[in-house]
Assembly symmetry: D2
Homo-oligomer: 137 residues x 4
C-alpha cells in the first residue's frame, strides 16, 4: 500500500499530475527519515567534530521535509502560494544538506546514501514546482 | 533505496533484529502520511460533521507516528525506556485511529486504507516491543 | 525561563540582533500552538463545513511554524539560505492562515485570536529576514 | 496572548482543570524548544564527543514534547487513552533528558537550563496525568 492509494480516494482530488505529487511526497518522507538517520550516524562517528555542520543541516532538512511532506499530502482547500513556498524551501534545504554530505561521502557511507536521497528529493520538489507553474496557465 | 540501507551504515549499530526495527520505522512513517491524508480526505467529505472524531484521532496518530519513527530511527546512545514508552504510545494511537476509521470504512475508502495501515503499524510496533523485551534478558 | 536564557548560553552564538531572533522563535512556537488550537476549535463548531479551509490552512501553518521555530533556534553552523527560505515560507503560511481566520473572526473568537497571533508571527519573521539581509552587508 | 486565551474560546471545552492543561501545553512547548537549543549548543561545544548522549536524548525529548503539546492542545473528541499514553511517554523522555543534562550541568550552562525545564515539564505532565485519573472517577 502506498501514499498513492489513499490520495486516489480523496473526494475532491487536486488536479495536476498525480505521479509528480506522489513522488514529491514519497521523497520528502524518505528524505526526512534518511536525514534523521544520517545526523544520528554522524553522532556515532569517532570524528563527530568534523561532522557538526552535516548534523546541523540534516536536522534542518528533516524538519523542512517533514512539513513539506505533510502539506503536499493535503488536497483539501490548498493555498498554492503556501505549497510553493514550502516546496521551494525544501529544495534549498535538500541542496544544502546534499552539498555537505557529498563532502563526507568518501569517508562515510551514510553521507553517500543521504546525499543521493537529498538529490532525488530536490528533483521531485523541482518537478512539483514545474507542474504547479504549468497548472497556473 | 530504503531506510535499511542507511541504518546498515551506522558506525555503532544497535543490536537486536534489524528487520523488526526497519519494519517499525517504515510503518510509522507510512502511517503518519496515511493518517495525514485520511484527516485531509475527511475534511473534503460532504459529511465532514460525522468525521470529526476520525480527523482528531488521525491528527494525533500522525503526530505520535512521526515522533516514534524519528526516535526508532536513531541508533546512537539510545535510552530503551524512552524508546519503549513512545512505541507503546504509538500502538495506542494507532489502535484508536484504526477503530474509528473502521467505523467509516464502508462509506469512505480512505478510512478503509487508513485502518489497514494503522493495523500494520500497531503490529510492527508490537513486534519491536517484543524484540526489545527479548533483548533485555 | 525563556528561550533567550538558553540561546545566550550557546558556545558560538550567531551574531545579529538577538531580540529579533528570540521574538521570531517565540512567535513561531506560539503560532504553531495557536493554529493547532484554532483548527481543533473549528472541528468542534456546528458550522465546521464552513471552516474547512480555515482548518486546512491552520494545519499547514502549524507545520511550517514548527519547522521554522526549530531551525531559527539552532545557532551552530547555520546555512543562511536555508534559514531565509524557511522563514519566507513561514511568512506566507501565516499570511494565508491569518487572511482566512479574519473571514471568520466575527463569528468565532478562536479565529480572532489566531488571526492576531499569525499577524505577529508574520511581523517577527519579516523582522528576522530584514536583520539577516542587514547582516550580509 | 497565551494558549489559555484560545483554549477558552473552544466551543466544546474539555472539562477538568484548565490550569493544569495549560501548564502541561506550555511546558511541553517550552521543553521542545529548550531541548532543540540544548542539542544545538552541545554541537557547538569543543567537547561534543562527550555530549553525544545528551544530544540524542534532547532530540528524542524535543520530538516527544512536540507531539504531546499538540495532542494535549486538542480538545475536540479526545481519546483519553491516547492522551495518557503520550503524556506518560513525555514524562519518561523528559526524565531521561534531564538526568543526562544534570551530568553536564556543572560545565555547560545550557545543560543546566535544559535540566530545569525538563524537570518542570515532567511535573506538569505528571500533574495532568493525576488530573485525568481524577476525572475518571
Amino acid at each position: 500500500m502506498s501514499i498513492r492509494d489513499i490520495l486516489e480516494t480523496h473526494p475532491q482530488p487536486l488536479g495536476g499530475d498525480l505521479d509528480v505529487r506522489v513522488r514529491c511526497i514519497e521523497t520528502c518522507n524518505e528524505c526526512a527519515a534518511t536525514c534523521t538517520s544520517c545526523a544520528d550516524a554522524d553522532l556515532g562517528e569517532s570524528d563527530v567534530q568534523e561532522l557538526v555542520r552535516c548534523i546541523r543541516l540534516c536536522l534542518d532538512c528533516a524538519d523542512v521535509c517533514d512539513a513539506t511532506g505533510r502539506i503536499v499530502t493535503r488536497q483539501t482547500a490548498a493555498d498554492l502560494g503556501v505549497v510553493r513556498a514550502v516546496v521551494e524551501a525544501c529544495v534549498i534545504a535538500c541542496r544544502a544538506s546534499r552539498a555537505e554530505c557529498e563532502r563526507h561521502a568518501e569517508h562515510h557511507a551514510h553521507c553517500r546514501v543521504c546525499a543521493e536521497v537529498c538529490r532525488r528529493c530536490e528533483e521531485a520538489c523541482d518537478d512539483l514546482l514545474a507542474s504547479l507553474a504549468l497548472g497556473r496557465r
